[in-house]
C-alpha cells in the first residue's frame, strides 16, 4: 500500500499525446492505491532527463518507469538504478534489446522504425510517391526513425521531405502550407503526433486539399479521429499509450506486493485505425485512447 | 510693496543621513535676476528642486504671490508659473527641437474624435521663439543632439519663457559653456528679465553672477549666508562668502596670484 513509483518521460511540457499516459497513470495509481510521480524535462532536453532519472533513483522509489528516448544518454542512469536494486520498466521509445541491455524488467512500447515502415507500406499501396514528414520534435531520434521507416517503405531517400516544423501550431501550419505550395506534386503526408497533425489538418483545409492527399499520422486525438471519419486522414497508427501508462504501474505494484512479473516485453502497438474501425475508439480518443 | 513672485522660508531637506538643506530663505521679485551662489554640494540643486516640486521639503514653507502652496509634482510647480532649466538634463538629444520644446505641454488639435499633436503650430512657434533667442535652426525636426551646448540651454530657456513662466530657474546654465556661448546665455537672461520675469540664476562663477544679477544669495553647506543687492557687494566679498575665503586668501598668498 502506498508504494511510490516515478515515471520519467522525455516529452517537453506541451506534448499533448502524453495526456493519455498521464490519465492511464492516474487510473492505475487509483486502482492500485499507489503513488506515481510523473516527471519530464521541461524543454525536452534529454540530458536533463538523465538528471531526473538519477534524482529519482537517489530518492529510493519502489520502481522507475522510463522511456528510452536516447539509449546513449539514458542507459547509464537507468542501469545504475537497476544496479541499486530498483526495478525498472521501460516504455514507449526504445527497443526490447536496449531495454534488456539496461537490465529493465520489460519494455512496453512500439518499435518506431517498424511502425513507420508499416505506415509507409500502406501509403505505397495507396500510390504515394513523394511525401512530406512533418517532424515537430526533430531532436528526438524516435521521430526521425518514424520518418526514415516511412521513406524506406516507399523507396525514396529521406532528405528535405522531413521538415523541422517546431512546436508552435501557427508555425507548423504555415510551414506545411509553404512546403505544399512549393512542392505541388506531394501526394503523401506523415505527421508524427497530434502536435503536427492538428495544424496540418488546418493547413490542408485552408488550401482546399483536404482528402486529396494521402495523410497518415501517428497517435490519436479527438481532432484526429474526427479527421479520419471525414476522410482527411487515411489512418492513424495507434500505439495504445494507455497500456504504456497503465501496465507498468500495475506490473510494478504486483512485483512489489506479490513478487510476480511477466517474462516478456509487451508490444502495445502498432494498431492501425481507419474509417472502418474508428467508431470503437472515437469516444475516448485523446483521453484513454 | 507687492508680494514677491515666490518666497521660500526656512526650507530644510534631508536625504537619509545627509542634511542637504538646513534652513534656506529666498525670494524673487518680478523682473529681477536673483543669483544663487554656492560651493559644490552646497545644496543649490536640491534647493531649486524643492522649489520646482521635485522634492518635498522636510520643513519650511513656499509662498507664491503671497499664498502658501505645496507642490506634489513638477507639474504643480509649472502650473504655478515656476519653470526650471536643469543642470544637465535640459533636453533630450535624440528628439527633435520641436518635440523637446513642447515636451509635457504638447499643443493638440481635434481630428474627429481624436486629439493629435499639432505639429504645424508647434513647428511654427518653435522656429519663431528660437529666432527671438538668436538661434537659427536648419529645421524644427533637427535633433537636439546636433546642437551645441549653448544652443541647447537657449532652447530650454526659450521653452520656459514661452510657457509663460513667472519665475524661471536656471541651474548652472553656463557651467559647461565657453566664453562666447556664456555671453550668449547671459544676454538671454538679461532679455528675459527685461520682459518682467523673475529669474533665479545658479552658478559657481562670481563673474557671471555679477554680470547679470540684481540680488545675490550665497549658500554654504545647506545654509543661507545672507543676501546682498547689486552694488552692495563686490566679487572679492562674494567669493569670500562662498568659501569662507580663508583658504583662498592663504592659497593666493602662497601662490602669489589672485584666485
Amino acid at each position: 500500500q502506498g508504494e511510490r513509483y516515478v515515471f520519467v518521460s522525455h516529452a517537453p511540457d506541451s506534448d499533448s499525446w502524453w495526456n493519455v499516459i498521464k490519465n492511464a497513470i492516474k487510473v492505475a495509481s487509483d486502482e492500485m492505491n499507489v503513488e506515481v510521480e510523473y516527471r519530464n524535462p521541461p524543454t525536452g532536453d534529454l540530458a536533463d532527463m538523465a538528471r531526473i532519472i538519477q534524482q529519482a533513483s537517489a530518492s529510493n522509489p519502489d520502481g522507475i518507469i522510463s522511456t528510452i528516448a536516447d539509449y546513449d544518454v539514458l542507459s547509464g542512469p537507468l542501469s545504475d538504478a537497476v544496479a541499486k536494486g530498483i526495478p525498472v520498466i521501460t516504455v514507449n521509445s526504445g527497443t526490447e534489446e536496449q531495454s534488456k541491455k539496461i537490465g529493465a524488467l520489460l519494455h512496453v512500447g512500439q518499435p518506431e522504425y517498424d511502425a513507420g515502415f508499416g505506415a509507409g507500406e500502406k501509403a505505397k499501396a495507396a500510390g504515394v510517391t513523394s511525401f512530406v514528414c512533418v517532424n515537430h520534435y526533430i531532436t528526438n531520434p524516435a521521430s526521425v526513425e518514424r520518418c526514415q521507416g516511412y521513406a524506406d517503405a516507399i523507396g525514396v531517400k529521406l532528405g528535405g521531405q522531413m521538415i523541422d516544423s517546431g512546436l508552435d501550431p501557427s508555425e507548423v501550419k504555415s510551414k506545411v502550407m509553404a512546403y505544399l505550395n512549393a512542392h505541388p506534386d506531394t501526394n503523401g503526408i506523415l505527421t508524427l503526433g497530434p502536435n503536427s497533425a492538428h495544424p496540418t489538418i488546418a493547413a490542408l483545409d485552408e488550401m482546399g486539399k483536404s482528402g486529396t492527399i494521402h495523410f497518415a499520422t501517428f497517435d490519436l486525438s479527438s481532432q484526429i479521429s474526427e479527421a479520419i471519419k471525414s476522410g482527411v486522414i487515411a489512418f492513424a497508427i495507434d500505439q495504445q499509450p494507455f497500456l504504456q501508462g497503465y501496465l507498468p504501474v500495475v506490473i510494478l505494484t504486483n512485483l512489489t506486493r506479490y513478487g510476480v512479473v511477466p517474462g516478456n516485453s509487451i508490444n502495445s502497438g502498432p494498431g492501425f485505425i481507419t474509417k472502418s474501425n474508428i467508431a470503437l475508439v472515437e469516444e475516448l480518443a485523446g483521453q484513454y485512447r | 510693496m507687492t508680494a514677491p513672485l515666490i518666497e521660500l522660508v526656512d526650507i530644510a531637506k534631508h536625504f537619509g543621513p545627509v542634511i542637504a538643506l538646513n534652513g534656506v530663505t529666498l525670494s524673487v521679485e518680478a523682473g529681477e535676476c536673483h543669483c544663487l551662489l554656492g560651493d559644490n554640494g552646497a545644496g543649490k540643486s536640491t534647493f531649486i528642486k524643492t522649489m520646482s516640486g521635485v522634492h518635498k521639503p522636510n520643513r519650511g514653507e513656499i509662498r507664491v504671490d503671497g499664498e502658501v502652496v505645496s507642490f506634489s509634482s513638477p507639474r504643480d510647480a509649472m502650473a504655478a508659473g515656476i519653470a526650471t532649466v536643469y543642470q544637465d538634463l535640459a533636453m533630450i538629444p535624440l528628439m527633435s527641437v520641436t518635440r523637446n520644446f513642447w515636451m509635457g505641454r504638447e499643443p493638440e488639435r481635434k481630428f474627429g474624435p481624436f486629439k493629435l499633436f499639432d505639429f504645424a503650430t508647434a513647428n511654427r512657434i518653435t522656429m519663431e521663439e528660437m529666432a527671438k533667442m538668436g538661434i537659427h535652426l536648419r529645421s524644427p525636426d533637427q535633433a537636439v543632439g546636433t546642437l551645441s551646448g549653448g544652443e541647447r540651454q537657449t532652447v530650454a530657456i526659450a521653452r520656459a519663457v514661452h510657457f509663460g513662466a513667472k519665475v524661471l530657474i536656471l541651474d548652472e546654465p553656463t557651467s559647461a559653456l565657453g566664453v562666447r556661448q556664456t555671453a550668449n546665455v547671459l544676454a538671454t537672461i538679461d532679455r528675459v528679465r527685461k520682459a518682467g520675469i523673475g529669474l533665479i540664476f545658479i552658478t559657481h562663477n562670481v563673474r557671471h553672477a555679477l554680470a547679470v544679477g540684481d540680488r545675490f544669495t550665497v549658500l554654504n553647506r545647506g545654509k543661507t549666508l545672507g543676501t546682498a543687492r547689486r552694488g552692495e557687494i563686490d566679487a572679492e566679498a562674494l567669493q569670500d562668502m562662498m568659501a569662507g575665503g580663508r583658504e583662498l586668501a592663504e592659497l593666493a598668498g602662497s601662490l602669489g596670484g589672485t584666485v
Binding site: S14, I163, P169, A178, G208 | S52, I92, G134, H136, R138
Partner: protein, 380 residues
C-alpha cells in the same frame, strides 16, 4: 518679446553656426529616416526571394497570404515591443505571456464553461494587470527591466504549466473552437475578413479557385485572417500614437531621458506602465488569435517569441536603450522575419538555415541602423 540689443542678436545667430561643419544635402536628409535600414532590408529580401523562389508560388496570392500571416503574427508582438522599447524598457516575458493568456482562455471556456467572450475579456484583463505589475516593479525597484521581466518569463511560464496541469492534467487544452462557436467576440480573433471580396475576385479570375477536393469551386483564399487585420490596425494605431499624439511624444521622452522628462512634467511612470500593459495586450491578441484559429491552447506556446519581437524591433531601427525608433520600422522588421522564414521553405533551402539567415540579417541591419541613427541624432 522685443530684443533690447537688436544688433547683437543677428550677430550671435551668425556665430552660432559653425563654419567648420559641412551641411547635409537636402536629398540625403529626406532619405535619412529611422526606417531606412528596414526599408533597404525589405527590398533586399524581396529581391532575393523573387530571384531564387519567384516561380515557387511564393508570390501567388496563396503564397503571399502564407508569409503575410506569419509576418502579421510577428508584427502584432513587435508593435508592443517597439513602443515599450522606445519608452526605454523591454519585456522578456512576452513569450510566456502568450502561453499564459492562451491557457487562461482555454481553461475558462472549456473547463469552467464561461462563454468565450467573457474568457477573452478576463484573459485581457489578467494579462494587462500582470503587465502593469511588471512595469510597477521596474519603476519602484529601479531594477533593469531585463531582470524583472526575465523573472516573469520564468514565473509566468511556471504558473501556466502549473495551472493547466493541476486542473486538467494536460498541457494542451483543446475544444475551444466548439465552445466559442457563434460567440460575439471570438470571431474578431479567429475569423476571416472580406470573404465576399475574394469570392468576387475569384469569379473575375483574379484569384484562382479550388479545382478539386471538398472545396472545389470556392476561391483558394477564403478571406484575410483576422490576425492580419489586427496586425494592420495595431501598426497604424501604434504609428499614429507614436508620431502624431501628445502621448507619443511622452513615449519618446520617457525613453530618451526619463529624468529630464519627469522634470518637465511628463508622467513618465504612467507612460512606462501603460507601455508594459500594451505589450501584454499585444501578446494576448496574439494568443487569442492562435487559440481561436487552432481551437486549442498549450502551455508552451510562445517560446522564444520575446526574442523574435525584439529582433523585429531592432531590425526596424529602434535603439535598444530607448528614445528612438519607429513602429513602421518594427512592422517592416516583422515582415522581413516572416518572409525569410517562409521564403526558405518556398526556395527549398534546408529549413534549419533559417536561423543562420536571421542572425546575419539582424547583424547587418543593426550596423546600418546605427550608422543612420548617428546621422540623424548627432549621437556619437
Amino acid at each position: 518679446m522685443s530684443t533690447a540689443d537688436g544688433r547683437s542678436v543677428e550677430q550671435l545667430r551668425d556665430e552660432a553656426r559653425d563654419e567648420r561643419v559641412r551641411e547635409m544635402s537636402r536629398f540625403r536628409k529626406a532619405l535619412i529616416r529611422p526606417e531606412l535600414g528596414a526599408i533597404c532590408g525589405t527590398i533586399l529580401v524581396f529581391v532575393f526571394f523573387l530571384s531564387i523562389a519567384g516561380d515557387s508560388g511564393m508570390f501567388a496570392p496563396e503564397g503571399i497570404l502564407n508569409w503575410g500571416t506569419v509576418s502579421a503574427q510577428f508584427a502584432i508582438i513587435a508593435v508592443g515591443a517597439c513602443l515599450l522599447m522606445i519608452a526605454g524598457e523591454f519585456d522578456l516575458s512576452v513569450g510566456s505571456m502568450i502561453g499564459f493568456s492562451g491557457i487562461v482562455i482555454a481553461l475558462l471556456t472549456v473547463q469552467v464553461g464561461l462563454p468565450a467572450w467573457a474568457a477573452i475579456l478576463i484573459a485581457f484583463a489578467l494579462a494587462m494587470a500582470i503587465g502593469a505589475f511588471n512595469g510597477y516593479l521596474v519603476i519602484r525597484t529601479g531594477l533593469p527591466s531585463f531582470i524583472v521581466t526575465l523573472a516573469f518569463l520564468y514565473i509566468l511560464r511556471g504558473l501556466t504549466i502549473f495551472i493547466s496541469i493541476t486542473t486538467t492534467r494536460k498541457t494542451i487544452i483543446g475544444g475551444v473552437r466548439e465552445a466559442a462557436e457563434s460567440d460575439p467576440i471570438a470571431w474578431l480573433f479567429g475569423g476571416k475578413a472580406f470573404h465576399g471580396l475574394f469570392v468576387w475576385l475569384s469569379q473575375h479570375g483574379i484569384v484562382g479557385t479550388f479545382v478539386a477536393g471538398p472545396k472545389a469551386g470556392q476561391p483558394v483564399i477564403e478571406g484575410i485572417p483576422m490576425l492580419m487585420v489586427w496586425a494592420l490596425v495595431l501598426i497604424v494605431l501604434g504609428h499614429l500614437l507614436l508620431t502624431r499624439t501628445k502621448f507619443g511624444n511622452w513615449i519618446f521622452a520617457a525613453g530618451g531621458d526619463a529624468q529630464a522628462a519627469r522634470y518637465v512634467g511628463v508622467p513618465v511612470n504612467r507612460v512606462k506602465i501603460s507601455m508594459f500593459m500594451l505589450t501584454a495586450f499585444c501578446a494576448t491578441v496574439f494568443a487569442t488569435c492562435q487559440v481561436m484559429e487552432f481551437g486549442s491552447a498549450a502551455a508552451d506556446r510562445g517560446l522564444l517569441k520575446e526574442f523574435e519581437a525584439i529582433i523585429s524591433v531592432v531590425i526596424g531601427g529602434a535603439l535598444l536603450t530607448g528614445g528612438y525608433g519607429s513602429v513602421v520600422g518594427a512592422a517592416l522588421g516583422a515582415l522581413i522575419f516572416g518572409v525569410v522564414q517562409q521564403g526558405l521553405f518556398f526556395a527549398g533551402v534546408e529549413s534549419s538555415l533559417f536561423r543562420v539567415f536571421l542572425g546575419v540579417i539582424l547583424l547587418l541591419a543593426v550596423i546600418l541602423n546605427t550608422y543612420i541613427r548617428r546621422m540623424i541624432t548627432g549621437e556619437r
